[in-house]
């Protein structure tokens, strides 16, 4: 059995979470609230130390920003902070609408960056990987053909502007079969990942805490 207080604490919290399998109880609630508090604090500290200080505080204290030199650079650094402070107007009933301005900046930058990236990563690159030369010189080519047909059938299933009838309907049916195999495989993977985590926790309790297994 371990004499490390850290291991005892981790084991206690592990059992607190597992107690939810019986029913919701104060031990589970304790661990849950502890987890929320610790992870919020952890996230805040990591964000401040890894992001905020290097990209905001350090350039300000040096008086220059490597991205844009001179006074303009410092202004461009302070400006988003001023916008960010406007978010706190959300706590005032009267001035809550002012928080929309920083949110608009976040959404604007986010959507502006998302449009080309979504098209590039999710459509163009997927098409590039799907439409490949097929020479039937190896089994790999047969697989590539299967993937190309499968992708077409899957997309047809998602296309609702035409009624799923005849050849189109047949391809849509094949599409849903392909999608179901995909979902089944993903589900199988997810189950195995969760079971693997469960085994990890049981090994922690049996080996690191109780020392029952070697």
């Amino acid at each position: 059995m371990s004499f490390d207080p850290g291991v005892w604490l981790a084991a206690f919290l592990t059992l607190c979470i597992f107690s939810f399998l019986y029913k919701d109880n104060p031990f589970y609630k304790f661990a849950e609230h502890l987890s929320v508090g610790i992870s919020a604090g952890y996230g805040l500290v990591i964000y401040i130390r890894v992001t905020f200080i290097p990209i905001f505080i350090d350039p300000l204290s040096r008086g220059q920003w490597h991205m844009v030199p001179g006074t303009l650079g410092i202004f461009l650094l302070i400006f988003p902070a001023l916008i960010g402070i406007l978010l706190f107007s959300r706590f005032s009933r009267k001035w809550a609408y002012i928080a929309r301005y920083p949110i608009a900046v976040i959404w604007g930058i986010g959507t502006g960056a998302a449009i080309p990236l979504a098209l590039q990563n999710f459509i163009v690159r997927q098409l590039q990987a799907t439409i490949v030369p097929i020479t039937f010189s190896s089994w790999q080519d047969l697989g590539s053909l299967f993937i190309a047909v499968g992708v077409a059938c899957g997309l047809i299933y998602f296309f609702f502007s035409k009624e799923h009838k005849g050849v189109f309907g047949g391809m849509a049916t094949a599409g849903i079969w392909i999608l179901m195999i995909g979902f089944g495989s993903t589900f199988g993977f997810t189950v195995m990942a969760r079971v693997s985590l469960l085994i990890g926790r049981v090994i922690f309790l049996m080996k690191d805490w109780l020392g029952i297994i070697g």
Binding site: A10, L13, I17, F30, A31, H33, V36, G37, I38, S39, A40, G41, Y42, G43, L44, I46, R49, V50, F52, F79, P80, I83, F88, R100, Y101, P102, I103, A104, W107, G108, I109, G110, G112, A113, I115, P116, L117, F122, Q126, T130, F146, I147, G150, V151, G154, L155, I176, W177, M180, I181, G182, F183, G184, S185, T186, F187, G188, V191, R194, R201
Partner: protein, 206 residues
């Protein structure tokens, strides 16, 4: 001012950011990088606001002794404790790392491990082979699961692992690509709606 200005700001930011992708000039690259840093700087205030919101909600529960207010004390104490330790210590300091390793890591791992039980009960309900597609889903998941454990290989004389590989490398890839393309089109269309001011839910109500 209350609704039109945010829409205009969103449009201008989104339009410039979309445009920069198609203009391979150094100044536009700098603009892209600067805008990313802007997002991160605004992000710290957004995160602070979220944490302040948690504090206010739980302070309220403690102040008025609402149901389960004791757990709010635990939450606030752990939040302040972890933040204080992280700011006094460093992010790789011994106390901060000890708290992470012995509190956050085991709770997170156990919460995900707990899902193994719930996923099993969900699977029982979802996988009852009532239709052809439910049967396909069931078979695919069983083959993948059995193909990933030693006993699956032993009882099938090595067939399950091979079948699992085929399923993962071909039909699964085809399904994922079809879904990715749908996601890409959906994401681009939604982003375009936000940019043009058609989608305004992010502004909340007046």
């Amino acid at each position: 001012m209350k609704r039109q200005l945010p829409i205009a700001i969103t449009f201008v930011c989104a339009f410039i950011l979309t445009l920069q992708y198609f203009i391979p000039h150094r100044s536009f690259e700098i603009m892209y990088e600067v805008s990313n840093i802007w997002l991160q700087i605004i992000g710290i205030f957004a995160l602070s606001m979220g944490i302040l919101s948690i504090i206010l909600v739980h302070y309220d529960k403690i102040k008025f002794k609402k149901e389960n207010w004791g757990f709010s004390v635990v939450l606030l104490a752990s939040l302040f404790g972890m933040t204080t330790v992280g700011l006094i210590d460093t992010e790789s300091g011994p106390v901060f790392v000890w708290l992470y390793n012995n509190i956050l890591a085991p709770i997170s791992a156990t919460l995900f491990a707990l899902l193994a039980f719930f996923i099993a009960s969900a699977a029982y309900r979802a996988f009852r082979a009532r239709t052809v597609i439910a049967t396909i889903l069931l078979l695919a998941s069983i083959i993948v699961m059995m193909g990933r454990v030693p006993i699956g290989s032993i009882i099938s004389f090595g067939v399950f692992p091979k079948l699992a590989d085929i399923l993962i490398n071909y039909p699964n890839v085809a399904a994922k690509r079809a879904i990715f393309m749908g996601v890409g089109m959906g994401a681009a269309a939604t982003a375009l709606k936000v940019m043009l001011g058609i989608e305004r839910s992010y502004m909340g109500s007046d």
